[in-house]
């Protein structure tokens, strides 16, 4: 299993305008959620706290970076770019479970302690997201090992005859 690591060199792949776009999207999504809460209702506004607006930009950036990297190596990278964005989307699906845990813990604790609600909800997001990612990783790894073992034993049979 590949361990989690930090790769600071990835920041150099980004262009300045890409960071500006993400800043503007993040700010825009926060303003939009506030406007919906004020004009449509608090509940409908609450939905937009989980709006995937930023995800659109992130997935597009991941795909663009992968394609650029492959082009620099002299190969077409469209398929690799799509796959990289798909892996990111699979991770976001697990992160969404963490986001659900964040909302549950925040809703249960905010009336008791505001700082406790922020700390507890953030921890709940982190723990649930990482646990879901770890379980999925372990399951896929075990399945891959079983398939490899089956292939090895299958190819060993004709040789023994």
């Amino acid at each position: 299993m590949t361990p989690v690591r930090i790769s600071p060199s990835s920041l150099r792949e980004g262009r300045w305008y890409e960071y500006l776009v993400r800043f503007a999207l993040g700010g825009g999504a926060t303003v939009f959620a506030g406007l919906i809460s004020s004009h449509v209702g608090v509940s409908v506004g609450g939905l937009f706290l989980a709006l995937p607006a930023i995800f659109c930009a992130s997935a597009t950036l991941i795909e663009t970076h992968e394609i650029r990297r492959k082009r620099e190596a002299g190969v077409a990278g469209e398929r690799r770019g799509q796959n990289a964005a798909a892996v990111d989307a699979a991770g976001a699906a697990l992160g969404a479970l963490g986001l659900l845990a964040f909302a549950i813990v925040f809703a249960l604790t905010v009336r008791t302690s505001i700082s406790g609600a922020f700390i507890g909800a953030s921890l709940a997001w982190l723990v649930v997201s990482v646990a879901a990612w770890y379980v999925r990783r372990k399951t896929r790894w075990a399945r891959r090992r079983a398939v490899t073992a089956a292939r090895v034993s299958g190819s060993a049979l004709p040789r023994s005859r």
């Binding site: 590949t2 989690v4 690591r5 930090i6 790769s7 990835s10 920041l11 980004g14 993040g26 700010g27 825009g28 999504a29 926060t30 303003v31 506030g34 809460s37 209702g41 608090v42 509940s43 409908v44 506004g45 609450g46 939905l47 706290l49 989980a50 709006l51 995937p52 930023i54 995800f55 992130s58 997935a59 597009t60 991941i62 795909e63 469209e78 398929r79 799509q82 990289a84 964005a85 798909a86 892996v87 990111d88 989307a89 699979a90 991770g91 976001a92 699906a93 697990l94 992160g95 969404a96 963490g98 986001l99 659900l100 909302a103 925040f106 809703a107 009336r111 922020f118 997001w125 990482v130």
Partner: protein
């Protein structure tokens, strides 16, 4: 007006911080967790408590549960569109926003909270 400027700046900073954290982490599936980080939620709930109090923020976070479940469905749909339909990332993520909206509003209606 100044309230929305503050919202824009706080939201931009928090979202950018989580996005940069996702950029430097490997493997990519782990970094993807940060695509669903509570960045907009942290900024919005903080301002909501300051302006309207804890009860208002509690109602917002209850509705956010429906939004989070819709986000999980949205991410799976995006993944399928990229892998099976071979769409590019921008059209796949933008088209799937319709799925997010339908699932989120549907769940909110089911839970009985529309206002």
């Amino acid at each position: 007006m100044s309230e929305y400027v503050i919202r824009f700046l706080v939201g931009g900073v928090v979202v950018s911080a989580f996005a940069m954290l996702g950029d430097v982490l490997r493997p990519k599936s782990f970094a993807g967790l940060f695509g669903a980080a509570p960045s907009v939620a942290l900024a919005t709930l903080g301002i909501a408590i300051y302006q309207h109090g804890a009860d208002y923020a509690a109602v917002q976070s209850q509705a956010m549960m429906a939004g989070a479940l819709a986000l999980a469905v949205y991410s799976v749909v995006v993944c399928q569109l990229l892998v099976r339909a071979r769409l590019r990332a921008l059209p796949a993520t933008l088209l799937s926003l319709v799925v997010w909206l339908v699932v989120a509003v549907g769940l909110l209606k089911l839970a009985g909270g529309v206002t």
